[in-house]
Amino acid sequence: MTVIFGIAAVLAFGGALGVVLSQRTLYSALSLVLNMVSLAVLFLLLDAQFVAAVQIIVYAGAVMVLFVFIIALLSPGAEERVRPLELRMLFGGVLAAVFTVVIGRLALNGITVTNNGHFHGALGPFSPSLVDAHGQVQTLGEQLFTTYLLPFEVTSLLLLVAAVGAVYLSKHRRVSS
């Protein structure tokens, strides 16, 4: 498990770096695909099979296709690099390093986890073995349609708004031009 985690983590992080560092937009998009597929593997490691599947279908499938389609449509040229190194880039790098170190420290020093390796507070009722026995998708579905029904419904409303908004935006532009 550790080995798989190591490989997937390296690929995911490499993909992330690729998104930010590639000069051509298409390479950024492809790196993002790599990152997302690796994340799906990590989700599988975390016993979240359904989310992993959704990750592949929605992200690597729908969203990335949309990205690639738009890139092909607009065909933006390569960004010219700024030389010398931009001040903001340095600043952002420092901030990113501080951020990662602080999170890592909080994860390791016994804030969320005690020193003997147990979580503070009681564990929830959804242990992996129990969830497997009942069925991963069944459990998630039950939760989604009972306890979390309201967020679920609100999300559906959001999707509707997004669809209407996208239609409006594209139509509106065409009329004005």
């Binding site: 550790t2 985690f5 992080f13 992330a16 998104v19 930010v20 937009t25 950024s28 998009a29 990152n35 994340l39 989700f43 975390l46 979240a48 989310v51 959704v54 929605v58 992200y59 729908a62 969203v63 607009l74 933006p76 960004e79 931009e86 903001r88 880039m89 952002g92 901030l95 990113a96 390093a97 951020f99 990662t100 890592g104 994860a107 390791l108 986890v113 390796g117 147990h118 979580f119 564990l123 009722p125 959804f126 242990s127 992996p128 998630l140 939760q143 306890t147 979390y148 999300t155 959001l158 999707l159 708004v161 997004a162 669809a163 908004g165 996208a166 594209s170 509106h172 532009r173 004005s176």
Partner: protein
């Protein structure tokens, strides 16, 4: 008991900050969008990690909702970018500063 928990969390933090730096330094709005997707994915990873290690379901449910939110965001964002491109602007965030007016 915790095993790889810190590993997942650190990976999530690292991906998040890489995405944040992407937002800060890149000028192409498409890449900025991808960086935002990266940050959302990093948050998803953290959510699912906690769900797994505290034996709860809320993290997975919210990861699903985040995916839905990200999808709608991409749809609207890409429509906006297309609109900006059509109205004759270059796809360069350094030249789009009409918000200050």
């Amino acid at each position: 008991m915790t095993g790889l928990f810190p590993g997942f969390l650190i990976l999530s933090a690292a991906m998040f900050s890489v995405g944040a730096v992407g937002v800060l330094v890149r000028r192409n709005p498409l890449v900025v969008f991808m960086s935002i997707e990266l940050m959302l994915n990093a948050a998803n990873l953290a959510l699912i990690t906690y769900a797994r290690y505290t034996h709860t379901m809320a993290g997975q449910v919210f990861a699903l909702i985040v995916i839905a939110v990200a999808a709608s965001e991409v749809v609207v964002g890409l429509a906006l970018i297309t609109g900006v491109y059509r109205s004759g602007h270059k796809l360069n965030l350094d030249e789009l500063s009409e918000m200050s007016e």
